[in-house]
């Protein structure tokens, strides 16, 4: 709960990582800023900064959850970001079994 102020200074990518990592106990967590790929499209004018991300998460918490539920879990964890300029997320959400891991 502490260091919210410090978090605000970090990049959105690192904030996303931080918010997802512990809540989802992710064994794999990749966050990629692909905002540049969407530069110039409608509703992003004036800001190509930290608006679109690819996120890949492998987490045991996804077990038994439909894709919609998994994505909702991610969105809920990132609701602050979504209200402050995060525009879109491409989400890959797998359980350790699905990812072919141990």
């Amino acid at each position: 709960m502490a260091s919210r102020g410090v978090n605000a200074l970090a990049s959105r990518a690192s904030r996303i990582k931080h918010k997802l990592q512990s809540a989802l106990e992710a064994s794999v967590l990749e966050v990629e800023d692909v905002s540049y790929q969407h530069a110039g499209h409608a509703a992003v004018k004036g800001s190509t900064n930290e608006t679109h991300f690819n996120v890949k998460i492998v987490s045991p918490k996804f077990r038994g959850q439909s894709l919609v539920k998994r994505h909702r879990m991610v969105y809920d964890l990132l609701s602050e970001e979504l209200q402050s300029g995060l525009h879109a997320l491409s989400i890959v959400a797998k359980t350790p079994q699905e990812a072919g891991g141990s």
Binding site: H38, R72, S79, L82, A88
Partner: protein
Amino acid sequence: MARSLSNLLVRGVTGLHAAHSLRTVVSGSLYQHGMRYSTTDDSGSHEDFRPTTKVVNSGLSTKDIVEQDVKENPVMIYMKGIPEAPQCGFSSLAVRVLKQYNVPLSARNILEDLELKNAVKAFSHWPTFPQIFIKGEFIGGSDIILNMHQSGELKEKLKDISVDN
């Protein structure tokens, strides 16, 4: 026939479900593709004589409109742009996936209407677009629809929906 009706759509007139007497339009239009607009019921009132008001206030809230959209249209997509001219890669992808199936596709452009955009987000509790509903059920965004298409799940979901519906 279909061409002149789609022209009507472009001019912002809806009300193409002959079975419904009153249809509220948000500032955008409801696009219907591959759907037979007229029923074979010849009740004597031709669509050309229907009033062409763009916005009809029947007291329906935007939330009501969303509920109506997903209830009445077997495949409903809220997207950026329109199916013929998507304005976002994710919306474009979703439309391309859905068009592989022989199903009617109804769409609203949420870029045209902020109130609609917010109402849809609140309705589905989902923060991004596109948003696809099939038979009234929220399915997800473009990632999910692509995934379901690749796994065959989407074919299953759409199998009892045809263009004649």
